[in-house]
């Protein structure tokens, strides 16, 4: 302290700025240490691991193998199937969830009594635990004695689908479950966006003689475009990192019919303990997510230029 008293005003200012920086860093530090150690370093580490072979978690057995893991991946039939399954799941979940949530949000944005009730009911499956929800779905869609198939049989359907027990129907069953569970979340997102559209816009269009479809096409849809992009990105990323649903309901089966990318990563890392190869697969997930995000940002720029 005595030293600062003797120096001139300029260094004092420097000291003040440094003190300000230090105070700010002290605020960030507790979170930052954790963030660096548990997020940043592991992300960097996964790139390193992806070009290494490291089996059974034995530290001395780490060897640099270059792009061998990537070569192995291309001939790994389960990997290729898992990518196909993930894409199938994504194509099944994203458009349906998007369309349904927009429709529900538009209905709930009407002059409506009991909006809070409807919103709560539609949102609840989203916060309910997947393990509990999967129990009911498994029972409801039980191929022999489940109420769904009993109803279908009663309605005269000869051979009702065997749902999660059949290689053909397992994925559609999980897609249905995912849509049912998540649609409420995106409905709330859309509802917030719709409520941000000025009423006058639609009223003016009505006075000008626009019908409901024209109003949707030229007002509602363009106004919610940024939300649509947000929802699409969120949903697509969600579908590519999906794991829990498959693990809890079908364990990737029957056969490999619901084996998705993260399920394959999980199997390679924590069941076969091939940490290197599992990291290579993780890099693929990272690349997919990156490409989706960048692609959608570019398209968004093109489509929302009127804003």
């Amino acid at each position: 302290m005595s030293k600062t008293n003797t120096v001139s005003a300029a260094p004092k200012k420097v000291n003040y700025a440094r003190r300000k920086n230090l105070v700010a860093y002290s605020f960030i530090l507790p979170n930052f240490i954790g963030f660096v150690c548990l997020t940043l370093i592991p992300i960097a580490f996964s790139f390193v691991l992806s070009v290494c072979e490291w089996d059974a978690g034995n530290a001395s057995a780490v060897t640099f193998v270059g792009l061998n893991n990537f070569k192995k991946m291309i001939s790994d039939s389960t990997f290729l199937i898992s990518i196909k399954n993930t894409a199938y799941y994504s194509i099944g979940v994203v458009p349906c969830t998007l369309a349904l949530s927009l429709l529900l949000a538009m209905l709930m944005n009407c002059n409506l009594k009991g909006r809070t009730f409807f919103r709560a009911v539609i949102f609840f499956p989203y916060v309910a635990s997947l393990v509990a929800v999967a129990v009911v779905w498994n029972a409801l869609f039980h191929p022999d004695s489940g109420p769904v198939n009993q109803l279908l049989t009663a309605l005269g359907v000869q051979n009702p689908p065997r749902w999660a027990a059949s290689t053909v129907w397992a994925m559609p069953t999980l897609i249905l479950l995912s849509i049912w569970k998540n649609v409420g979340y995106y409905t709330v997102v859309y509802l917030a966006a719709l409520q941000g559209i000025p009423r006058e816009l639609r009223e003016a269009a009505t006075i000008d003689g626009a019908n409901a479809f024209q109003r949707f096409k030229s007002i509602t849809w363009p106004m919610v475009t940024p939300t649509t992009f947000f929802v699409t990105i969120m949903l697509t990323i969600y579908t590519f990192k999906v794991f829990d649903i498959m693990y809890i309901t079908t364990q990737g089966g029957p056969g490999r019919s619901t084996n998705v990318l993260v399920y394959h990563i999980y199997n390679k890392a924590f069941i076969s303990l091939q940490f290197g190869y599992a990291s290579t697969l993780s890099i693929v997930l990272f690349a997919i997510v990156l490409v989706i995000t960048l692609l959608q940002f570019r398209v968004e720029k093109k489509f929302t230029s009127y804003l």
């Binding site: 979170n31 709560a120 509990a132 639609r202 599992a278």
Partner: protein, 283 residues
């Protein structure tokens, strides 16, 4: 636009109203019936679970299903593990996030924008991308198969910092300047002004974190192998595997696992919805 239709063409208006409510009620039924069936099955005898047409109110009521499950699985231990993890993670996350968020929102320092960009970028990267190396690092420090590992893993999220920072940005700088002139330190401002003012953001973060922790499956699945440490979701899953034919017991256990989230959801629904809406808008 509806009101104009009401006076111009009342029959069309009422038809549309009926259509609107019918659609929404049908949608609500689809959302609720699985839960209703779960509840009613949890009171049935094993042989009656799959009776068709569905008996919504069971002929014989077996409330003892709810007693049986407590003796079949260590539910109390699973509950207390989950509550402990949820509480600790939520509190630490809240403190470190709001602390960092204050610096990002209200303090000027070298590298602020670059650092914040780093945080934002990692929000978009799914945890599944780096869970393997993270697990390896944790195991090197002996943190796997322990609650501490899970706590560390879930506490320092970029999302928490982002959420609270967005809220802090809306608090006027004049307020902080006045406090600085009055001689309050930055730490004092955080504790006495920012924290009390950001109750809505805190509530949102608490609820998000509570629901995430309560329902988390993959984290505990990978990290916890010791049965003493297992959480409710993991325990429930094990129970389902062991008693796969006793649907009435599985349903009862599932109902019990849903109750805390249900109560929380009913009582603070507003914050759930606001949390979703704000993150949606900001993104």
């Amino acid at each position: 636009m509806y009101s104009s239709l009401k006076s111009k063409n009342p029959s069309v208006y009422y038809f549309l109203q009926v259509l609107l409510y019918t659609t929404l009620l049908a949608g609500s039924l689809i959302m609720l019936l699985p839960f209703a069936w779960m509840l009613s099955s949890s009171f049935k005898a094993q042989k009656d679970v799959f009776n068709f047409p569905i008996e919504w109110i069971p002929g014989e009521i077996h409330p003892e299903n709810y007693k049986t499950i407590w003796t079949q699985i260590p539910l109390v231990r699973y509950f207390s593990n989950t509550i402990k993890l949820t509480a600790i993670i939520t509190v630490i996350q809240l403190l470190t996030s709001s602390f960092a968020a204050y610096a990002f929102a209200k303090l000027e320092f070298k590298g602020r924008n670059q650092l914040f960009l780093l945080y934002i970028m990692t929000i978009a990267i799914p945890w599944q991308v780096y869970m393997v190396p993270q697990y390896i690092m944790m195991s090197k420090f002996g943190l796997t198969n322990s609650h501490l590992g899970l706590i560390l893993m879930h506490t320092f999220t970029a999302f928490g910092v982002f959420l609270i920072r967005q809220f802090y940005m809306g608090i006027p700088n004049d307020l902080l300047e006045a406090a600085r002139i009055d001689g309050l330190s930055e730490y004092g401002i955080w504790a006495k002004i920012m924290l009390p003012l950001s109750k809505p953001a805190i509530a949102t973060l608490c609820i998000t974190s509570f629901v995430n922790e309560w329902n988390d499956f993959m984290g505990p699945l990978i990290y916890l192998s010791d049965d003493k440490l297992k959480t409710l979701q993991l325990g429930l899953r094990l129970f389902i595997g062991q008693f796969s034919a006793d649907y009435q017991l599985i349903m009862a256990a599932s109902i019990i696992s849903l109750i805390p989230v249900f109560i929380m959801f009913i009582s603070v629904q507003k914050y759930f919805v606001e949390g979703v809406a704000t993150t949606g808008m900001k993104g």
